[in-house]
């Protein structure tokens, strides 16, 4: 597997808590920590191809599952999904939360994603691509929910990321930029929004993105290219409108000041 985002943004201590909270055994924990140790505090570079212990265990277990008699493999399938959960539930939850902007709904759909994964484990042909496969399930689940509920809002950027204390000015700036980005994202087509969030926020590679979107690499790249341009234009429009609103809001105050 090329990139393990479940083990990228948090320090090992925090991530270890999360993995074990997922009900994982020692091998899962070791796997996540191995990845953290290799790339502490940052995303694994794209193209890195080593497998963590957890990933190797996953590959082994899926191989065993393939060889198991049909009548005996349900428990084994559950164990594989348990490992997938330990490795990826945090990033899947973050993705769904970002798409839907409702924490409880994101939790429900994360659960649903892993239940669907359990039921469709036979379709996981290459365990090394389990992450993209999970994103594919989560993406379809999110888009179905969005279509059903017509939710187009996104989580605002709180300015809490980065790990360093931000000044009040920086926090205010981040909040403004977050609001702009949120509205710009909401303004672009759903499919493009999904692609750019998966590619940029969750850092799926081109191959992973194609798998997650369920399209060819060329088609995924085309959607992503359109998404970049749509978002750029939407952000420009949003900033222009914000500037107009700023002038509109400032004008009465300035008039009042002049009257004094």
């Amino acid at each position: 597997m090329k990139c393990l985002r479940s083990a990228t943004r948090l320090p090992p201590e925090a991530r270890g808590d999360d993995v074990t909270a997922g009900g994982g055994d020692a091998s899962q924990d070791t796997g996540a920590r191995a990845c953290c140790a290799a790339y502490p505090g940052r995303a694994r570079p794209r193209g890195a191809s080593f497998a963590t212990t957890g990933e190797r265990v996953l590959v082994r277990d899926v191989a065993l599952l393939r060889a198991a008699p049909v009548t005996q493999d349900q428990a084994a399938a559950r164990a594989v999904v348990e490992q997938l959960f330990a490795l990826h539930h945090r990033e899947i939850y973050t993705y769904l939360n970002r798409m839907l902007r409702e924490e409880e709904l994101a939790a429900d759909l994360t659960q649903e994603t892993f239940i669907k994964a359990f039921r469709a484990l036979d379709s996981l042909e290459d365990p090394a691509r389990a992450r993209a496969w999970l994103y594919q399930i989560a993406s379809r689940t999110a888009l179905d929910e969005l279509r059903r509920r017509k939710i187009v809002r996104f989580i605002p950027w709180t300015g809490e990321s980065g790990g360093t204390a931000a000044s009040a000015e920086e926090v205010a700036l981040h909040r403004r930029l977050s609001g702009e980005m949120e509205r710009a994202l909401a303004a672009i087509p759903e499919r493009q929004r999904n692609a750019i969030i998966l590619a940029e926020v969750h850092e799926l590679t081109g191959v992973e993105l194609a798998a997650a979107l369920g399209v060819s690499h060329v088609a995924a790249r085309a959607v992503l290219t359109r998404a970049r341009e749509s978002l750029r234009q939407a952000l420009a429009v949003e900033r222009a409108e914000a500037a107009i609103r700023g002038v509109g809001e400032a004008a009465p105050a300035e008039a009042e000041e002049r009257r004094r």
């Binding site: 943004r9 948090l10 999360d18 909270a21 997922g22 009900g23 349900q74 428990a75 559950r78 999904v81 348990e82 959960f85 539930h89 945090r90 990033e91 939850y93 973050t94 939360n97 970002r98 924490e103 994101a106 939790a107 994360t110 659960q111 892993f114 239940i115 359990f118 039921r119 989580i155 950027w157 709180t158 809490e160 990321s161 980065g162 981040h174 930029l177 977050s178 980005m181 750019i196 969030i197 590619a199 940029e200 926020v201 850092e203 081109g206 790249r221 992503l224 290219t225 970049r228 341009e229 978002l231 750029r232 952000l235 420009a236």
Partner: protein, 83 residues
């Protein structure tokens, strides 16, 4: 107006692609040559990079602590219901 779009369109596509993959040397050379003389495309290049920076700065969310317990229970139900 359409002519302007046609001139810049391929370079805008290269700018977007460059964020995700290595371009072929002739493509890189052509793009860099164009960027040296085209302020509009250079501006788009900056916009794309800024957008990437803003998106990647979005914080991770923290799942509820009982998410595994809930999922595990649901898996057990699915296991019982499985053929």
């Amino acid at each position: 107006m359409k002519r302007t779009t046609d001139i810049h369109g391929p370079f805008r596509e290269l700018l977007a692609r460059r964020l995700d993959e290595h371009l072929a040397p002739p493509e890189t050379e052509a793009l860099n040559r164009h960027l040296r003389t085209c302020a509009a495309c250079a501006s788009v290049d900056r916009d794309y990079r800024e957008t990437r920076h803003l998106l990647r700065a979005l914080p991770d969310a923290t799942p509820p602590r009982d998410l595994w317990a809930r999922t595990s229970t649901a898996l057990d139900r699915a296991l019982v219901g499985a053929p």
